[in-house]
Amino acid sequence: MKTKNKIVTALLLGTALSLASAGFAAAQDKTVKIGALSDQSGLYADLGGPGSTLAAQMAVEDSGLIAKGWKIDIISGDHQNKPDIGTAIARQWFDVDKVDAIVDVPNSGVALAVNNVIKEKNGVYINSGAATSDLTNAQCSPNTVHWTYDTYMLAHTTGQALVKAGGDSWFFLTADYAFGAALERDTTAVILANGGKIVGGVKHPLNTSDFSSFLLQAQSSKAKIIGLANAGGDTTNAIKQAAEFGIVKGGQKLAALLLFLTDVKAIGLETAQGLNFTETFYWDLNDQTRAFSKKFAARMKNSAPPTMVQAGVYSGLLHYFKALDALGGNPHDGVKVVEKMKSMPTEDPLFGKGEIQPNGRTIHSAYLFEVKKPSESKGPWDFYKLIGTVSGDQAFTPLAESKCAMLKK
C-alpha cells in the first residue's frame, strides 16, 4: 500500500513538474540564436563579412537583454557568393543549430535564394547587405525585413540627381547577376522617366579584375554618364581603371551607383575625389554615429569604421531585440516576430527614426555624399562631404508602386 502511494505521489509530482516547466518555456523562453551569413573572404567581405558579425555582437551587448536574463548566441557563416552554399548553410542553421534569425547576407543572388529558405522555415530575415529591391517587391516575404538600402533607393537618389544635372545619356557596366540586373533595371526606369536615354551597356562577370575592354566600349559609346551597376571590388577596379584610360578627363562622368566606405579607401582619394553617391549611414554623420564607430573600429582588426551594411546589421538587430523584449519571450515564430517589428516605429542611434513598411522595407533617410579632395581629408577615414539628405519616403519604393503580393490582401 505504501509503495503504491509513493508511486502515485511521484507520478503526480512528475506531472506537475513537467507542466510547470512547459508553462515556463511557453511564457519565458529567453534564448535566441542569430546567424550572420556573409561573404567572409571575397570581394564583399570588407563591407560585410567579419565586421557584420562584430556589429551583431555589439547589438547584443547594447540591447540590454542580457541583463534581463536573455541568452543570445551569434554564429557566422561564409556563403562565398554562391547561392547553393548560402541556402545549404541556412538550412543547416534552421534544422540543426536551431537558429531564429539570419542577418546581413550581401550578394543579391544569395540573398534571394536564402529568402525562400527562411520563409519555408518560418525564421526571421533581417537583410542589410543585399541591394535588390525584389526582396520587398516581387519576392517579398512575411519573414523578411530589408534594412539599409536597395536598388530602387540608389536609382532614385544618385541616378536621379545625375540625370537632373544634365547626364541624360547612359552606358551601363553591369555585374552579371541578380543585383546588377536589378540596379540597372531600377536606374533605367528613373533615367527614362526623367527624359534621358540609354545608349548601351555591357554585362561583366562578377569579380572581374580587368575592366579595360569594357571601359573602352563605354568610352566609344560617347555616353555622358557611365553607370556602374556593380559593387565592392568590381566598382573600385572599374573606377581606378577608368582614371587610367582618361575617361573622366575626356568629359564622361562615372556614376558609382553603389559605393561603400571601404571602396573609397581602396580607390584612394586622389582617384575617387568628386564622385557622387548615396549611403544611408556614414560614421561621421553626428555624435551618435561617431561614438558607435569609435567603439566598433577599436574592435576591428584593421581599425576600420563600420560601413552602412555593418551599421544596418547593428540597428536591424537592435530593433529585433526590442520586438522580442516587447513580446516578453522568444516565440520562435518568424512571422509573429516580424509582425511585431513592423508594428513598432524604428529608432536607433545610427539610422535615426523610421518605420518598417508592410512589405518589409525599412524606411529611413538617405544621404547624398561627395568624395572629398585629398587636401580636405583630415584623417585616415575622413572621406565624405554631405551634399544633401533625402527623406525616407522620397528615397524608397512608395507602397502604391510596390509589387509585393502581401499588400494585395
Binding site: 579584375s209 573602352l216 565592392g232 584610360f245 571602396d263 580607390i267
Partner: protein
Amino acid sequence: MQALYAQLLVGLINGSFYALLSLGLAVIFGMLNIINFAHGALYMMGAFVAYFLLNVMGIGYWPALIIAPIAVGIFGMILERTMLQWLAGLDHLYGLLLTFGLALIIQGVFQNYFGSSGLPYAIPDYPKIGEFHGLQGGMNLGFMFLPIYRGWVVIFSLIVCLGTWYLIERTRLGAYLRAATENPALVRAFGINVPRMITLTYGLGVGLAALAGVLSAPINQVRPLMGENVIIVVFAVVVIGGMGSIMGSIVTGFALGVIEGLTKYFYPEASNTVVFVLMVLVLLVKPTGLTGRAA
C-alpha cells in the same frame, strides 16, 4: 574596326601578365617537376612587397621592380630548401598539395591583416622627362587612348620573357639546368651542384611571379586574393601551351590574353570562361598541349 584594334591591344596587356606568370610556372615545372600552386600567392606577395617598400620605407616603383622579385625569390628558395626538396621523385600530386596548402596559408595570413579589398598603389610619377611624368598619363594612338603604364607593361614583360627563354634555351647555364632535369646523377658526376641549381631555378620562377605582382600593383589593387583569380587562368594557359615548354607558355600567354580581350568585346558574359573552353578543346585534340612534349 578601331574598337577592334583597341581590344587587341588591351588583350596584349593582359596577355603580358599571363605570359610572365605561366613562364614562371613552366620554368618550375620543367626543371623541378613541381606544379607550383603557390604561384598566385607569390605573385600577390610581390605586389605587397612593393606596397611595403613604398609605404614603410619610402622606396618607389623602380627599385621595387628589382627588390621585390629578389625578396620573394629568397622566400621561395627557403620554401624549396625546407619543404619542396623532400618531394623530389614523388608523384606530382604531393607537390601540388603542398604548394596549394602553402598558397592558402599565405593568402590567409595576408587577408587576416589587410582584409579583402585592395590597397592603392600609384603609377610611378618619376623620372620626369619633358612632358612625361614617369609612367603616368597616356597617349592618344588615334584608335584608342593608351595609358603609358600599360604600354610599358607589354614591352617590359616581353623583354623579360624573351630574356628568360634565352637564358634557359641558349646559354651554358641553361644547358646545365636542362641536363640536370634529364639526368641529375650524371650532371652531378661532372661536379655541378644540382640541388643548388634546382633551388636557384625555383627562386627564378618565383621571382618572375613577384615581378608580375609588382607590375600589376598600379593596375589592379594590391589585394590578398589578387593571385587567386589569376592563377586559375594561368594554369589553363600552361595546360594549353604545354607543360614545361618555355616558348610555348610565352606565346600562349599573350595569345590567350588577346582571345580573352576579343571575347570581352563580342560576348562579354563569356569572358571568364573562354580560356577554359579552349583548354578543354586543346586537351581533347592534343592532350600534351600545343607545344608540349609527350611525357
